[in-house]
C-alpha cells in the first residue's frame, strides 16, 4: 500500500513534467502569440549586438563630357610609271581648304576609321586641282621630281582623290570620389551606436572604366579593412541652381541658391555580397537672400555643401530605417509638442494685470 502511494506520487510528478514540456512558454510583455513578420528585429540592432562594423565609402562619381569633333581627310592615288604606291594625305597635317575655314581636330578619334556616313568623292577629275592644295602640290612635285606647276601639268598622271569629312561628339568620362558628403552619414551611424571603419580611398587610373564602381571587386581586394558591411554610394546627379522670384504682396524679391544631389546607395554584406539595403537619397542645401539679385549677392558654397551633406545624411537615415536596417529613432526628427493651448476662459475685453 505504501509502495503504490509512492508510485502514484512519482507518476503524477512525471506527468506534470511531460505536460510542462509540451506546453507553450509563457508570453513576455510585448510579445504576441502570432509571429509578426513586421516585428522583426532591425538588422542594425543585430549588428550592434554582435559588434559588427560598417565602412562608408566616399561618394563615387562618373562625370561625362562631350565635345563636338570635326575631322577632314583626303587621300590620293597616283597612276603613273615610276610613281610610288598611293599613300593618303591627311589634311590635318597639311593645310586646310582655303574656301572652308573650318576647325580641324588633331585627335585621332575618327582617324583610324576609313568609313564615313557621308564620304565626298571626286569622281570628275576636273573637280580636283592640285594647285588648290599646296600640300598635295608639294608632294606631287616631290614624287614626280618636278619643280614647277607647269612641268607637273605636262606629265601624264592619273590622280584619284578621296576626301572624307566626319563630325560627331566625343565623350570623355572622368571618375573620382566626393569626399565631403559622407562624413555626416558616418557620424549618423556612430551616433546610432555602430562601429564605423575607414574605407581606403579609391584612386582612378588614367584609363579608368566603369569597373571603378565594381564594389565587390574592391571588397575582395580588401579595401574596406575587413568591415562586415560596406555602404557604397554613387552620385546620380548634382546640380546648382540660382533662381529669383518676386514675393507676392511685397516689393521684394527672393533669390534662392541651391545645391542638390542624388546619390544611389547600396549597403552590401562583405561576406555574402548580399545587398542588405538599397535606396536613392537626396540632399539639398539652400540659401535664400531677400533682394539678393539687386545687391549682387554671392552665396557661400561651404554653407551650401554643409547643408546638403546634413540633409543627405538625414535622408539616408530615413531610408535605412524604412528598410529595417537602423531603428527609426535616429531617422525621425524631433516632433514639436502639440500646439493646443488652453483657451482663455475669461473675458478679454477688460484689462487685467497679472503679477507673479
Amino acid at each position: 500500500m505504501r509502495i503504490s502511494h509512492i508510485h502514484s506520487v512519482y507518476l503524477i510528478g512525471l506527468a506534470t513534467l511531460i505536460l510542462s514540456g509540451c506546453g507553450t512558454p509563457p508570453l513576455r510583455s510585448g510579445q504576441t502569440l502570432l509571429s509578426n513578420p513586421f516585428a522583426q528585429k532591425p538588422i542594425g540592432e543585430t549588428i550592434k549586438e554582435e559588434q559588427k562594423s560598417i565602412a562608408v565609402t566616399n561618394i563615387f562619381y562618373r562625370k561625362e563630357g562631350a565635345n563636338l569633333k570635326y575631322v577632314e581627310e583626303i587621300s590620293n592615288k597616283y597612276d603613273s610609271s615610276g610613281v610610288p604606291p598611293s599613300t593618303p594625305i591627311d589634311l590635318r597635317e597639311s593645310e586646310k581648304q582655303p574656301s572652308e575655314p573650318k576647325t580641324i581636330d588633331n585627335s585621332d578619334v575618327f582617324a583610324e576609321s576609313q568609313s564615313s556616313a557621308f564620304p565626298i568623292k571626286f569622281t570628275n577629275p576636273a573637280d580636283f586641282k592640285p594647285s588648290d592644295y599646296p600640300g598635295i602640290q608639294k608632294e606631287l612635285e616631290a614624287r614626280l621630281g618636278k619643280t614647277s606647276p607647269e612641268s607637273a601639268s605636262n606629265t601624264a598622271v592619273n590622280i584619284a582623290s578621296q576626301q572624307t569629312k566626319k563630325s560627331g561628339f566625343e565623350t570623355k568620362a572622368e571618375y573620382g570620389q566626393l569626399r565631403t558628403f559622407s562624413a555626416a552619414i558616418r557620424g549618423l551611424l556612430i551616433k546610432a551606436g555602430y562601429k564605423v571603419v575607414q574605407a581606403n580611398p579609391a584612386v582612378p587610373t588614367s584609363s579608368q572604366g566603369d569597373d571603378f564602381f565594381h564594389v565587390v571587386e574592391r571588397i575582395k581586394a580588401g579595401e574596406f579593412n575587413s568591415a562586415d558591411y560596406v555602404m557604397f554610394g554613387v552620385l546620380g546627379e548634382m546640380s546648382f541652381t540660382d533662381n529669383s522670384e518676386t514675393i507676392v504682396g511685397t516689393k521684394s524679391t527672393s533669390q534662392q541658391i541651391g545645391l542638390d544631389l542624388i546619390v544611389d546607395f547600396s549597403l552590401i554584406d562583405t561576406k555574402t555580397y548580399q545587398v542588405v539595403a538599397s535606396f536613392l537619397a537626396e540632399g539639398s542645401g539652400k540659401e535664400i537672400r531677400i533682394d539678393g539679385r539687386g545687391n549682387a549677392f554671392k552665396p557661400s558654397m561651404a554653407k551650401l555643401m554643409k547643408q546638403a551633406s546634413t540633409n543627405l545624411a538625414e535622408d539616408v537615415a530615413k531610408h535605412l530605417a524604412d528598410q529595417n536596417f537602423v531603428t527609426s529613432k535616429i531617422a525621425e526628427p524631433e516632433i514639436g509638442r502639440n500646439y493646443k493651448r488652453k483657451p482663455y476662459d475669461d473675458d478679454a475685453s477688460t484689462l487685467k494685470i497679472y503679477t507673479k
Binding site: 514675393i247 507676392v248 504682396g249 511685397t250 516689393k251 521684394s252 539652400k286 535664400i288 537672400r289 531677400i290 533682394d291 502639440n338 500646439y339 493646443k340 493651448r341 488652453k342 483657451p343 482663455y344 478679454a348 475685453s349
Partner: protein, 197 residues
C-alpha cells in the same frame, strides 16, 4: 426788505452764471455698451459685424476640419470681397473672426498677404544686416505655410419705397485646403434690416 431783495438777485445771478457755463461746455459724452444693438440706420453697422464674426467663428470651430484635427491646423486669411454698394471694410470682419479663432487655441494663423511686407522686412533685418547673433536670428526659409485659407464675400440686396427700406445682407465664408483645392467648410450668415418712416 432791502436785504431780501439783494439775496434774491444774488441767487438769480448765480443760477444764470451756472446756466451760461453749462451752455458753453459742448455735447455730453457717455460710454455705451460696445455689444449693444445699434439701430440708427439700415446701413452696415457694428451689430452686423459682431453677429457675422461670432456666427462664423463658432461654425468654423465646430467644423470637422478644425474640431477633428489632431494638431491645431495652420490657416491664413485671404480676401473677403465686398460685393455691396456700401463701403465695408471686410478686413475688420476677417480680423475679428481671426481673433476669435485664435482665442480658442484650436487654430494657428499664418501671416496673410497684407502682412507679408512687414514679415519680409523683419527677416531681412535679422538675417542680412549682420547685426544679430546667429543663434538668435529667425532664419529665412522657415516660415510655415498655411494648410488652409479662409476666403469669402459679402453681398446685399436693397429694396425700398416711400415708407420702407429693406436691406438684405448675405455673408459667406469658405475654408479651402491649399494643397488639394478642396473646400473643406463653408457657411453663411444672413441679415435682414428694415427701416420704416
Amino acid at each position: 426788505m432791502k436785504l431780501n431783495h439783494q439775496k434774491t438777485s444774488t441767487y438769480i445771478f448765480s443760477v444764470l452764471a451756472a446756466l451760461s457755463l453749462a451752455a458753453c461746455s459742448g455735447p455730453q459724452v457717455r460710454y455705451g455698451d460696445a455689444k449693444g444693438v445699434e439701430t440708427i440706420s439700415v446701413d452696415y453697422g457694428s451689430t452686423d459685424l459682431q453677429s457675422i464674426a461670432e456666427a462664423m467663428a463658432r461654425s468654423l470651430l465646430q467644423s470637422k476640419v478644425i474640431s477633428g484635427s489632431k494638431d491645431a491646423p495652420t490657416v491664413t486669411v485671404a480676401d473677403v470681397k465686398n460685393k455691396t454698394s456700401e463701403y465695408i471694410d471686410t478686413r475688420v470682419i476677417t480680423d475679428k473672426i481671426r481673433t476669435q479663432l485664435l482665442k480658442s487655441g484650436q487654430v494657428r494663423f499664418a501671416v496673410n498677404i497684407n502682412e507679408m511686407q512687414s514679415q519680409v522686412d523683419e527677416l531681412k533685418r535679422q538675417n542680412q544686416s549682420g547685426l544679430y547673433k546667429n543663434s538668435t536670428v529667425s532664419k529665412t526659409g522657415n516660415m510655415q505655410g498655411a494648410k488652409y485659407r479662409i476666403e469669402g464675400s459679402i453681398s446685399s440686396i436693397i429694396k425700398q419705397n416711400k415708407n420702407i427700406k429693406d436691406v438684405f445682407y448675405i455673408f459667406n465664408l469658405n475654408l479651402i485646403n491649399n494643397e488639394s483645392g478642396l473646400i473643406e467648410w463653408a457657411d453663411e450668415k444672413e441679415i435682414r434690416k428694415t427701416a420704416t418712416r
